[in-house]
């Protein structure tokens, strides 16, 4: 019996390495961190009761899995196993990531047929951009993450990044690709990165809570409005590294037009970054 794959939830979350480090070093009760992790708790509880069969993590690499000699705009992993990268101080002590090559190849074929020019990664080491969001979702994975993962990579580091509109369109095509997968699986999708921050230059330390509040609201209610922002607007309003928020639009595009917000939380600073989390239930009743 052929089934139908379904996105059951979408999770937007920052992937700042220091969030992982705070967990790895048992500092989650530290006064500088407690509010962040308290803010994660409701999302984690809901997620623990809604475990998908497979997760798609939209993220970017940070000089760990990829070099700058080859910079793909969009990539997808098709491996059955992704090792956790050594970012320069030993790999994080978290489980390696198990892949789902069948789903990866289905998504690849669907997306290439929809004119998305993906780069295929048959080998890939995953860095904090992917593993920190898994930790935000599942703080104590034990020997294994809750389910297999399909990594989707986005160039957010080197101009020209894909436009916000292109990311949103990719998400919409990804949603169609998931729904056309003839297997009866549930899918969680994670859009990672952000929120506003800038690491270098005279404007280093830039954070924009007003913009972030707007983004947290509209990613729920009006993602198409966010998709209309230009690179320059994003960098000006969210900082040169905050532009990575475009990855949230891929997650959001794969979901229904109307979704139910389960929980969101905003915290700063996580390292030099404003950290946000937003969890959406995709199985909300559609308006009549």
């Amino acid at each position: 019996m052929a089934g139908v794959a379904e996105v059951i939830w979408g999770l937007a979350t920052s992937h700042v390495p220091s969030i992982g480090a705070a967990m790895d070093r048992g500092k989650t009760e530290d006064p500088n961190w407690k509010d962040l992790f308290d803010g994660y708790a409701p999302a984690r509880q809901w997620l623990a009761q809604h475990e998908p069969d497979v997760a798609i993590v939209v993220y970017n690499d940070h000089a760990n899995g990829l070099d700058l000699d080859i910079v793909p705009t969009f990539g997808i992993g098709t491996a059955d196993h992704y090792r956790v990268a050594d970012e320069g101080y030993g790999p994080r002590q978290v489980p390696d990531v198990i892949g789902d090559p069948d789903l990866s190849l289905h998504l690849l074929e669907s997306l290439v047929d929809e004119n998305f020019d993906l780069t295929v990664f048959q080998e890939l080491e995953v860095d904090h951009g992917l593993t920190v969001p898994l930790s935000v979702w599942t703080p104590d994975p034990g020997d294994a993450w809750p389910c297999p993962v399909v990594p989707i990579l986005v160039n957010v580091i080197q101009y020209p990044q894909p436009t916000a509109a292109r990311c949103y369109a990719l998400g919409q095509a990804l949603g169609r690709a998931i729904r056309s997968y003839g297997e009866d699986v549930t899918v969680g999708i994670l859009g990672t990165g952000g929120m506003s921050h800038q690491l270098a230059g005279a404007r280093a330390g830039f954070i924009n809570p007003e913009f972030d509040a707007m983004w947290l609201e509209k990613i729920h209610t009006d993602p198409a409005a966010l998709a209309a922002l230009s690179r320059e607007e994003l960098i000006r309003e969210a900082g040169s590294e905050g532009i990575e928020l475009i990855m949230w639009l891929i997650m959001r595009g794969a979901m229904a037009d109307e979704v139910t917000k389960v929980h969101s939380h905003y915290f700063l600073p996580a390292s030099n970054t404003a950290a946000g989390i937003a969890l959406f239930d995709n199985r909300a009743p559609q308006p009549a």
Binding site: H62, A63, N64, D67, L68, D69, V71, A85, D86, E87, G88, Y89, I157, Q158, Y159, P160, S196, H197, Q198, L199, A200, G201, A202, R203, A204, G205, F206, I207, N208, P209, F211, M214, K218, D222, A224, A225, L226, A228, L229, R231, E232, E233, I235, R236, E237, G239, S240, E241, L268, P269, S271, N272, A274
Partner: protein, 139 residues
């Protein structure tokens, strides 16, 4: 339905920026904001390759044993080598370093991203961290 998102008009340049990181980059113009574009990445390619090599402990040890020789092995430009030897973080960014790559050298030195932020903005690490904890810098 799509509504227009209100974003602020372009900000005026930040006053009194003490450092010389390039104020504009590529096709974009955001004051105080280096843009890591294609020309920057070309300029920094060998520097970034060297910085990425610090993922491995063996390479970190070889670098520490003779920094200049290690830079030469990666064919860095003379001013890139000088910036590395001097730990001139602003110059590394100006010379094409990506902050994610430059940070790997900072980590080797036991420096935090907040320390780098202080360097880029002419503050101590403590001052910079205090601004972050107060809600971040605007501009």
């Amino acid at each position: 339905m799509t509504t227009a998102v209100a974003v602020a008009p372009p900000s005026p340049p930040i006053k009194g920026s003490p450092m010389s990181t390039n104020e504009t980059g590529g096709r974009l113009n955001v004051p105080g904001t280096p843009i890591f574009d294609g020309q920057t990445s070309r300029r920094g390619l060998r520097l970034n390759k060297m910085l990425m090599s610090f993922r491995s402990a063996e390479n970190r040890e070889r670098f520490s044993a003779d920094e200049a020789a290690y830079c030469a092995e990666f064919q860095l430009a003379p001013e890139q080598t000088q910036a590395v030897l001097d730990r001139d973080w602003t110059a590394m960014i100006d010379l094409g370093g990506s902050i994610f790559y430059v940070y790997k050298l900072a980590m080797m030195d036991g420096r935090s991203m907040q320390y780098l932020g202080g360097v880029f903005t002419g503050m101590t690490e403590e001052e910079f961290l205090a601004e972050l904890r107060a809600g971040g810098r605007r501009g």
